[in-house]
């Protein structure tokens, strides 16, 4: 009894010693010198592997920053502090750009838009877009099957009960995955300073747009008359804000917009997000 325990302990221990010796030798002999800056850069990255920078993941991006093929501020998701630290590690000067936030430019949820019929197909926006565009009548707005929420690596989006995606501003890192996946280009990436939005994409004639969705911009021009010339323009039956001149400070009363597609950000949306 005792002897079998001893034999097994001796043989297992012996094998352990032998293999650890082998590993120790291999560790010395096959050591690959890695630039310590890669680890340092890596530590400053969000490590969510979102792909917003265009590289397969954070580790690959870090390698490319160190080898000089990617810019230190190439990570769109990183905080200003993080980017500065990376720049310091690499010994370069970078301008930290303004933070980008995804904005859902549509308010046509289930309550607002008319329905075409019943959609039986795959619950994916892109697939629905290929097959006539889901059950909402609007050909321009949100389809509502939440593909953007599925691809968000930061849990910064959710679908509300009206089946419209909501961006949680504090969590949004501006990686742009949602904007890329949206087949209707309803999601746009805007700098944080853009506070005013025309929340509609419908280019139809006013009457038709109104029948499609109660929140559709009908191109009435009331917002245009309230501002200086060129600050808001009318294109394809849609008011468009010229952000070079306007839209950074909400000054005009947005409640004048009859369909309510003219929105100041930071009020109800964030209240909804908080709730």
């Amino acid at each position: 009894m005792i002897s079998s325990i001893l034999i097994s302990m001796a043989s297992m221990g012996g094998m352990g010693l032998l293999f650890s010796a082998g590993l120790a030798v291999a560790n010395k002999k096959f050591y690959v010198a890695e630039d310590p800056r890669i680890t340092a850069v890596m530590e400053e990255l969000p490590r969510a592997n979102c792909g917003g920078c265009g590289y397969p993941g954070c580790a690959n991006f870090a390698e490319n920053v160190v080898s000089g093929t990617a810019l230190a501020n190439g990570c769109p998701v990183n905080t200003a502090d993080g980017t500065e630290t990376i720049a310091r590690i690499m010994g370069v000067d970078v301008e930290t750009g303004e933070r980008l936030i995804a904005r859902v430019i549509c308010r046509g949820g289930d309550y607002e838009t008319a329905k075409k019929g019943t959609y039986h197909g795959i619950m994916s926006c892109t697939a629905a877009h290929l097959m006539g565009g889901g059950d909402r009548l609007c050909d321009y707005g949100c389809i509502g099957y939440g593909e953007c929420v599925d691809v968000c690596p930061f849990d910064a989006m959710y679908m509300n009960e009206n089946h419209l995606p909501v961006v949680i501003e504090d969590k949004c890192t501006g990686c742009g995955n949602c904007a890329d996946v949206c087949p209707r280009d309803v999601i746009e990436m805007h700098p944080e300073s853009h506070k005013l939005f025309i929340m509609c994409k419908n280019e139809d004639a006013p009457k038709e747009a109104r029948q499609t969705c109660i929140k559709a911009c009908i191109g009435c021009g009331i917002c245009i008359r309230a501002v200086e010339e060129g600050e808001i323009v009318l294109e394809d039956n849609l008011a468009r804000i010229n952000y070079d001149k306007y839209g950074r400070v909400p000054v005009i009363p947005t409640e004048k917009c009859a369909p309510g597609s003219f929105v100041t950000f930071g009020e109800e949306e964030s209240a909804e997000a908080a709730a």
Binding site: H120, G121, S124, A127, G133
Partner: protein
């Protein structure tokens, strides 16, 4: 004797009894038409008329310089009321010309008839096919003049006229074969002259014995050397590649075209349009449409002007029944469900199917049970369930390896799937992914 056919495929109930004995009725001239500028595969047309312009039947309203494109013509005599975007039956909004009828009788703008087509030059005939705006009327709407001018290095030795009409419900080609036999044969002779081929075949599914009979008699009488081939009833018998396999026992190579095996296939409707264009000089402004299904009061075959709104045609057929649930453009296998009955018929509209029972798709697809039924149904020898799964998971390169681009979207796999998985939709999504991957590769290179 077993009738010739292709391998695999499915056997849906054909539902042709609604209209297979109904004579083709000419629809009264519509009050207004919407002529879509995109009724074919290829470059869309640009408008060549102005708002307010008086216009004659057969006048060109849109044309394009691109080779793979086809002009569109006004189908009534009237006035251009608007040029704008309207809902298209294939989905989305496209540019259309809205024409209001002003005359009770057609004033035709005809092209000069080529009555001596036997001696006319091939170029002149094919120019006419193009000018008349003829596209494949079977449903794909590929410009016919492109098909009839194969590259020089391909030798074409046989021509097949496609009278299969394998989609359930549709009987437009069937009735045309019975009632407009001479025109079809003349059109076929013209097409064969343009192609310069000797061997002509007419493939007809065996569920149309009267059509086979009539065509055989007419071929004998007209002393044509065409061969009428009676084919087994199976879906998709009328798909080009299947038809070539059934009639000629030739297999179109993967990724290839019928011309790679020396064959060109055209639809019955196309032959009629060619005969009209050459012999009478009429552009393609009307087509035979089957209005059918258990959701319509009087199922009919109608000769309708292109651009006529669905609602007008349905009204002429007694209107929709109260219990009607779905209206399709095209057959139930490959057709598109419609949500707006103001959409106009286009060149590719072979039928309007109105169903009263709930259609095939379930509320929710159930998990794949790996029964392999779709695999034994796929006439292109693909693995639908596997490809669908790969495209669901975003494994684009792998799905391309499995031949996703060869899918003809016939719908056989979705039809037989006991779990009612929308396989074709997944495959379409996968095709989009492959297209995007190719584009990215191209950009990177």
């Amino acid at each position: 004797m077993r009738l010739p056919t292709f391998i695999k495929g499915v056997h849906p109930n054909d539902y042709k009894h609604f209209t297979c004995t109904k004579l083709i009725e000419t629809l009264p001239l519509p009050d207004h038409v919407f002529i879509s500028l995109q009724q074919h595969i290829g470059a869309p047309c640009t408008v060549v008329v102005e708002k307010g312009q008086e216009i004659k039947t057969g006048q060109v309203v849109g044309s394009s310089d691109a080779y793979v494109s086809s002009p569109v013509h006004s189908s009534i005599t009237g006035k251009v009321k608007d040029i704008g975007t309207f809902v298209h039956p294939v989905g989305g909004k496209v540019q259309m010309v809205y024409i209001q009828r002003t005359a009770d009788e057609d004033q035709w703008e005809l092209m000069p008839a080529i009555s001596d087509w036997q001696s006319a030059s091939i170029d002149r005939l094919n120019q006419r096919v193009r000018a008349a705006g003829i596209v494949g009327l079977g449903g794909a709407a590929f410009p016919t003049h492109v098909k009839l001018a194969p590259p020089k290095d391909k030798t074409i030795d046989s021509f097949i006229l496609n009278g299969c009409e394998c989609e359930p419900f549709l009987t437009a080609d069937h009735r045309a074969m019975v009632e407009q036999t001479d025109k079809i044969l003349a059109g076929m002779a013209i097409i064969m002259k343009i192609l310069g081929v000797k061997d002509g075949f007419i493939g007809i599914e065996n569920n149309k014995p009267d059509a086979i009979e009539t065509m055989r008699a007419a071929v004998r009488q007209g002393e044509y050397n065409f061969k009428v081939v009676s084919l087994q009833v199976k879906y998709p018998q009328g798909a080009e590649k299947m038809l070539i396999q059934s009639v000629l026992k030739r297999q179109v190579p993967t990724g290839g075209l019928p011309m790679d095996v020396g064959t060109v296939v055209n639809n019955i409707g196309t032959a009629i349009a060619v005969a009209n264009a050459v012999i009478t000089g009429k552009a393609l402004v009307e087509r035979i449409v089957t209005v059918t299904g258990d959701g319509i009061n009087e199922p009919k075959n109608v000769l309708a002007r292109i651009g006529t709104p669905f609602q007008d045609i349905l009204n002429h057929c007694g209107g929709l029944k109260e219990e009607a649930i779905q209206v399709f453009m095209g057959g139930p296998m490959m057709g598109m469900a419609q949500y707006n009955l103001q959409v106009p018929i286009v060149k590719a509209t072979s039928g309007i199917v109105c169903t009263a029972e709930k259609g095939q798709p379930a509320e929710r697809a159930m998990p794949c049970i790996r029964c392999g039924t779709c695999v034994s149904a796929c006439p292109m020898f693909l693995l639908p369930t596997r490809i669908a799964r790969l495209s669901e998971m975003g494994h684009t390169a792998e799905s391309e390896d499995l031949g996703i681009m060869n899918c003809i979207e016939c719908g056989s796999c979705s039809f037989v799937c006991p779990s009612q998985i929308p396989l074709v939709q997944w495959i379409r999504l996968g095709k989009l992914q492959v297209g995007e991957m190719k584009r990215k590769e191209k950009e990177a290179a």
